[in-house]
């Protein structure tokens, strides 16, 4: 008898597990957490998948309800080929619930250091396609600066230009206390391929201890060339540093 009740319960576990994934995908979309996980280009696909999963789950539930009323065996008994009965759905359901409970967080300085933020060359993967020469340099984002550098890497060419950029703080282990790295992550597909790009910031007063790692800053200042770690690098000399809240969409593309 107990076996029978477990068996009749299993198809419902499928319904709940699939619905949970539909809900998770749509919840991430509505709470704008999808931005933390994937590139905006794929959001439409994910939302469509969420809706479709809910549809599949609803349809399956409807059939189950109908067949239980008419007391007919609705479908053949389902056995896993890979997992014991119910385990696959249970795994799906558990992860979906964990996803609803635990908030995914944007990557921060630890990941940036792990992913080589201090490497010699920071390059962006998508090559710049065009430039507007008239752009005010203060309007350039951190990524714009890195892309500009990629096309013409001579730091002296930018000396004296004004800049205003946003990013989070990373302490570079190989630079003196006076410097910090203002960093952004760039993603091309999903968080799995996020890579950091950064610009060294030279503090004019005090040291970096007043700005904790992972804190978001808006830095205004002027560009200059510094020799850091035996390399000539474009560095932002800070005039003002303002703490800002973490943006809703912390990545760049």
């Amino acid at each position: 008898m107990a076996r029978t009740s477990i068996r009749s319960f299993l198809p419902w576990l499928d319904v709940v597990a699939i619905a949970a994934w539909g809900v998770l995908l749509l919840y991430y979309w509505l709470s704008e957490k999808l931005f933390l996980l994937i590139h905006p280009n794929y959001i439409g696909l994910t939302v469509a998948a969420g809706i479709f999963l809910l549809f599949v789950s609803g349809l399956k539930g409807l059939f189950l309800l109908r067949s239980s009323r008419s007391r007919q065996p609705s479908a053949p008994i389902q056995h896993m080929t890979l997992f014991p009965p119910g385990l696959g759905s249970l795994l799906l359901l558990t992860v979906a619930i964990a996803g609803l409970l635990i908030t995914p967080r944007a990557f921060a300085s630890q990941t940036a250091l792990d992913r080589g933020v201090t490497d010699a060359i920071t390059l962006t993967r998508v090559k710049p396609q065009s430039f507007r020469a008239s752009t005010r340099t203060e309007d350039k984002t951190l990524i714009d600066w890195i892309r500009t550098l990629q096309v013409y890497p001579e730091p002296d060419a930018y000396t004296g230009q004004k800049a205003k950029v946003q990013g989070f703080v990373v302490y570079p282990p190989n630079l003196p206390e006076q410097y910090l790295l203002l960093t952004r992550f760039v993603i091309t597909c999903c968080a799995a391929d996020a890579y950091p790009v950064s610009l060294p910031v030279k503090l004019t007063t005090g040291d970096r201890k007043s700005y904790s790692p992972d804190g978001w800053l808006e830095v205004e200042g002027q560009m200059l060339t510094e020799t850091l770690d035996n390399k000539r690098q474009l560095t932002l000399q800070a005039k003002s540093l303002k703490s800002i809240p973490e943006p809703k969409n912390p990545y760049n593309y």
Binding site: D14, A17, I18, W21, L25, Y28, L34, L36, L37, I38, Y42, L45, T46, A48, A49, L53, V56, L59, K60, F63, P73, A75, P76, I77, Q78, H79, M80, T81, L82, F83, L87, G88, S89, L91, L92, V95, A98, G99, I102, P104, R105, A106, F107, A108, Q110, T111, D114, R115, G116, I121, L123, R125, K127, T188, C189, C190, A191, A192, D193, Y195
Partner: protein
């Protein structure tokens, strides 16, 4: 703690990115089953092993699925009685030889078009060669999971005696109280003859099929993504990357990275692009060719079709061929 949260975020991002593609794959697989008479499609496939392997490799162009989606289709092709060479060719080449992946690779490597063409060419060549090699084993059943193997057995039996239970819908729904089919693979096998059934019946089976495959392949995807996320967060990338600067070790490092990262073939070219400045062209091609064929996530999915021994053969052949071809690029061309 930060590390754990990073791992969880990575894990979720892989899943959120992969599930729509998995769903697409399952749907394509199901639609192929219900609305295309595969027996007719299979009948026109060439019987010659080499041509068959090549055709199988090219079928991917009809099914724009990545490596999460090609396994169910390949499994179904096998159960439908496709020649071994066709199914293996499809399994290995479909994630790469399809319009979406071609377009994505082109976007990423627009200024190095040779990488796009080398990727396509090498994938085709390797899939065809491995399909041809596997076709030597005329009876693939000892290498398959029991469920898939028994579906093939049932098929060959039903081919011998035409009025078979398999060709009857009543068998499937069962007149007796005792359900007759107890395995999803057998369920799929039973559904092979459904093209002639009424539409409502077919749609109902399509639903059952989608639910079952999502559950089974979804659970495997979760395990694979968990491993990929843990390795990415807890093994420093520097360690993997420091292995490779020379023509030989860069290829080995990239093959290893491709196997570990398990990134979907529709998007892996962007991932590879980040190494374009530091790695040899040959090793980038190795990443793009080998990753879609075999990776941690994919091995999990392949276990639903093959026994571990067969997966090891596939892995060894694909790795060696990729290595030889891309080493040639590194030494003689770039």
């Amino acid at each position: 703690m930060t590390q754990l949260n990073s791992a969880f975020t990575l894990f979720l991002s892989l899943l959120v990115e992969a599930i729509p593609f998995l769903l697409l794959g399952v749907l394509f697989s199901g639609l192929l089953q219900f609305f295309v008479d595969e027996r007719r499609l299979l009948a026109i496939l060439p019987k010659n092993p080499l041509l068959g392997a090549f055709t199988g490799s090219c079928i991917g162009f009809l099914f724009p699925v990545c490596e999460c989606g090609n396994v169910p289709v390949a499994r179904r092709l096998l159960m439908q009685g496709a020649p071994v060479s066709v199914a293996i060719g499809f399994l290995l080449a479909a994630p790469t030889i399809n319009p979406i992946v071609f377009w994505a690779t082109w976007t990423a490597f627009r200024d190095q078009p040779e990488i796009v063409f080398l990727r396509v060419g090498f994938s085709l060549a390797i899939a065809t060669i491995i399909g041809f090699i596997f076709s030597v084993q005329t009876d693939l059943r000892p290498l398959l999971q029991p469920g898939v193997a028994s579906a093939i057995t049932m098929r060959s039996q039903s081919a011998d005696s035409t009025p078979s239970l398999l060709q009857s819908g009543t068998y499937f729904l069962g007149q007796s109280a005792k359900p007759l089919i107890t395995d999803p693979s057998e369920l799929q096998a039973a559904m092979m003859a459904t093209v002639s059934k009424p539409m409502s019946f077919r749609l109902r089976l399509l639903l059952e099929n989608t639910v079952q495959e999502m559950r089974e392949l979804g659970a495997v995807l979760i395990l694979g993504s968990a491993i990929a996320a843990l390795v990415q967060v807890f093994v420093p990338r520097d360690l993997i990357l420091s292995l490779g600067q020379s023509p030989i070790t860069s290829i080995l490092a990239m093959i290893l990275l491709a196997g570990v990262v398990s990134i979907c073939s529709t998007v892996d070219s962007f991932f590879a692009l980040s190494f374009a400045s530091t790695f040899t062209s040959g090793s980038l091609v190795a990443f793009l060719v080998f990753g879609p064929m075999i990776d941690l996530k994919g091995v999990g999915l392949m276990l639903s079709v093959f026994k571990p021994r067969a997966i090891f053969y596939l892995f060894a052949l694909a790795a060696q061929l990729t290595f030889i071809l891309t080493l040639f690029i590194n030494l003689y061309i770039s």
